[in-house]
Amino acid sequence: MTEQNSYLDMDLLRFTTAGSVDDGKSTLIGRLFHDTKAIFEDQLEAIEKSSKQRGDEHVNLALLTDGLRAEREQGITIDVAYRYFATPKRKFIIADTPGHIQYTRNMVTGASTANLALILVDARNGVVEQTRRHTFIADLLGIKHIAVCVNKMDLVGYEEEAYEKVLQQYTDFASRLENVTDLTFIPISALKGDNIVDRSENMSWYKGPPLLYHLENIYVGSDSNHVDARFPVQWVIRPHSDEHHDFRGFSGRVAGGVFKTGDEVTILPSGFSTKISKILKGDEEIDEAFHPQSVTILLEDEIDVSRGDMIVKPNNQPKISQDVDAFICWFSGTKKLTKGGKFIFRHTTKEAQAIVADIRYKVNVNSLRKMEDAESFDMNDIGRISLRISQPVFHDSYRRNRNTGSFILVDPFTNETLAAGMLR
């Protein structure tokens, strides 16, 4: 029974892998599962069988996450795989992302919901452009914790010197980042299992803990904003039944702050004020709701409220503007972003039109220098733009609140997701 209670109380760490192609991300996740006995017997059997068929020298643990046919054929990760495991200390949601530059969009997908990034670096090659790109993206996404795994130590004779060199290179680059507050380095061999679950005997010069210990014990404070109350209305509940004839509830997920019964609130964009009469979580009445709870809010007065509106507090309102300034990662390989370009803008529960008012600059991911003469964004370009939106957007800066500060741009013709954006 106690074991079960602890399962229910366990906290959750979401982390992503990142780094250049072939640096060992998938092998590392496979190794982590293998050495914690989190691979099931039928999975391991299947992996052993495939490895043998492919003529691999070792059991290829990357096959645990590289589950698509095309991935196995090419030996690379194409799309992010989500994997789950729990130790007695923590529950983990892992996104194993591709290192190949062509699939950067999938790396961003995996990293957008992570609190920690494991950046893999091949000890032989050191920090390369893709390491820098992924590090920069992780930083832009607001990931505060980075663990750099200097991998393939077995191929450099487990020498401290090789590790020190990578550490130096990476630290130089990371010193120019804005958000990362916690940087840890661990020398590992994903293939052989050094410093993954147990401390490696091959690297006695390394005094820190193995990777799993780090993941289990690192303190990752909540990235929730419990200060600025924001409730984007997602769906209006109007039961057409006699019993609930006058019921009108506004459903959604609290995007920030705390809402309590009796609180005075303002509805955007109408600006009307009223009070919260009731809060429901499913069929249960609760006194207060906070991020990231999905609830239904009932108001004292009959006010017109619909999807895309936002419930806030009168004395703490978001920025309200049709002109926004943002960092974007451009994903499309077929479409460019240029000044005057028109897109669909999706933000919280709202959808609107957007026109690119200005391209401010692109960032060179190697030097982190601004390139101010940029005229267009191509696949994998990152930089700053200004947008004019067809309606006022209720937002906060991404740094202050991921939920009200993030958006995507969608192609009005193909419906593809073209870019990820972070509001300033």
């Binding site: 229910l8 997920r253 999905s294 669909i344 933000h347």
Partner: protein, 301 residues
Amino acid sequence: MQNYNLTHLEQLESEAIFILRETAAQFERPGLLFSGGKDSIVMAHLAAKAFNPAKIPFPFVHVDTGHNFPETIEFRDKFIAEQGVQLIVGSVQDSIDRGTAMEESGPNASRNALQSVTLLETIEKESLDACLGGGRRDEEKARAKERFFSHRDAFGQWDPKNQRPELWNLFNGRKSPGENFRVFPLSNWTEMDVWQYAKIENIELPNLYFCHEREVIDRNGSLLAVSEFVTPRENENPSKQTVRFRTIGDATCTGAVQSNASDLDEVIAEVAASRVTERGSRADDRRSEAAMEDRKKQGYF
């Protein structure tokens, strides 16, 4: 100071409810794929919460292979009546009779793959533009790659190499006419999460999930229940065993496991100690290395 933290199950619940509401809001005619298995029951339970006190604003869809455990259909009909939702049944037998699907022949014939045909036909007939499924990423390696909002082209095909990026909590359900989506609110749940949630929420599940005596045969390592659809072959000796099911699907390919777990606590303890995945007992996934991916590309759940 109040502690504003959610347990991981509360986070998963909130996420699933968000997805269910987003589906109702972004699509004109969604349907909830209801098989009578534990995942679809939990999903239906979450849907009831998401729209309370209103009724669930979309129909349930059952793709019926005709090879059911009688308990499943009984449970389904009772559940539908309680929820007061509409049930759409797409019948594999009808597809076969129409000639749009062909019964497999041979020793391991199953209607599992035919479900895709019937599902796509049902989607078209009912003009469904999104189907909510109880699939979880921890079930299988191809599923581990799937988005919450998973796009299907006009042929119902999944293109795993070219999925839309899916960022933060922003879900892009835009599509061209004829295309549709599969939506998976339980993507981030594990089998253990589903059982734990069923327990704390007191969710009623079919008896098949708990131990009972049953006549079974061992076929290619799966314990199949002897029924009108599974008859023992010459060299197979049926025996009475105490078993339960970890997943419930087509009776011809869903294997039972030997078990004495008679309630949720015991099932949870058993799952915690288990060394094989729940799909390890399903013959449909064992056909080939990429069996699931191949079926999904053709429109499978």
